[in-house]
Symmetry: C2
Subunit: 155 residues, 2 copies
């Protein structure tokens, strides 16, 4: 999916060359929204990415500094993929994209009220989401996910 030559130094083009294929943003979505971390979890995505394509996209994202790959302490067969700072910086764009689609796709499965809540409290929420993902959490899944933090009452 990547061109050997650099097409231009335009920022939009740089972004497209880094993650502008059909699958990379879905991988990043799986991390941010669903807390996925391993090859097998990404392979399971609803959209059905092929295993060879997943492999090539993951290594491209690692090579471009969006993801880091670390060995899993508990299972030596696995690796953990996480967003770098550069990758975490993509969250606002990913959320804008999701916001746009949530507003414009009549068939969306996206929780409209929650999305609008996020944008209504943009600064605070974006920060919370970034910190959550940075420490291994996600927007929707897991004990310490953003949704839990917001809506579950404190002990």
């Amino acid at each position: 999916m990547k061109k050997p030559r650099l097409r231009s130094n335009c920022p939009v083009n740089f972004a497209l060359e880094t993650f502008g294929d059909t699958w990379s943003l879905l991988i990043i979505r799986d991390i941010v929204f669903w807390g996925k971390k391993t090859y097998g979890e990404f392979l399971d995505s609803k959209e059905g990415i092929a295993s060879n394509i997943l492999s090539s996209r993951l290594s491209h994202l690692v090579q471009n500094g969006v993801l880091i790959k670390k060995p899993d302490k508990n299972d030596k067969r696995k690796s953990i993929y996480q967003l770098t700072e550069k990758g975490l910086d993509l969250i606002p764009m990913l959320l804008e994209m999701s916001g746009w689609a949530t507003r414009n796709d009549p068939e969306t499965t996206s929780p409209k009220d929650f999305v609008e809540y996020i944008f209504a409290n943009r600064e605070k929420m974006f920060k919370l989401i970034r910190e959550t993902v940075k420490t291994g959490g996600s927007l929707f899944v897991g004990k310490d996910c953003v949704v839990s933090k917001l809506f579950k009452s404190s002990p």
Copy 2:
């Protein structure tokens, strides 16, 4: 570039199916940043899109309600492509993408200070950019472009 079947109803996937190929966002960038409007102008982009691909991307964007195509009053050979409301709604995402790349691409040609100025005055600037593009202007080019409005002194 579009798949016949819908891969999922996830908002990120919806966005990717609408404009997630290698060229669509460059077309939208050419409109927002550089005020391009016609087939020939898009064909001229620095990245060198092939004429058949441009043709297919333009019709896909029109079909998906991101662009409208109108006849040029002065030259019947030409058509004018413009962003619809749905297309104008993409500006925040495009700007986040540009911001990310401007901060992360060491070789960027993007004006860093101006980009940061935009984000420092986000609400006001996004509104100004949207209104400017909506009325046929652009960020950088043309008498009434955003840059002129900001930095040229009033008469």
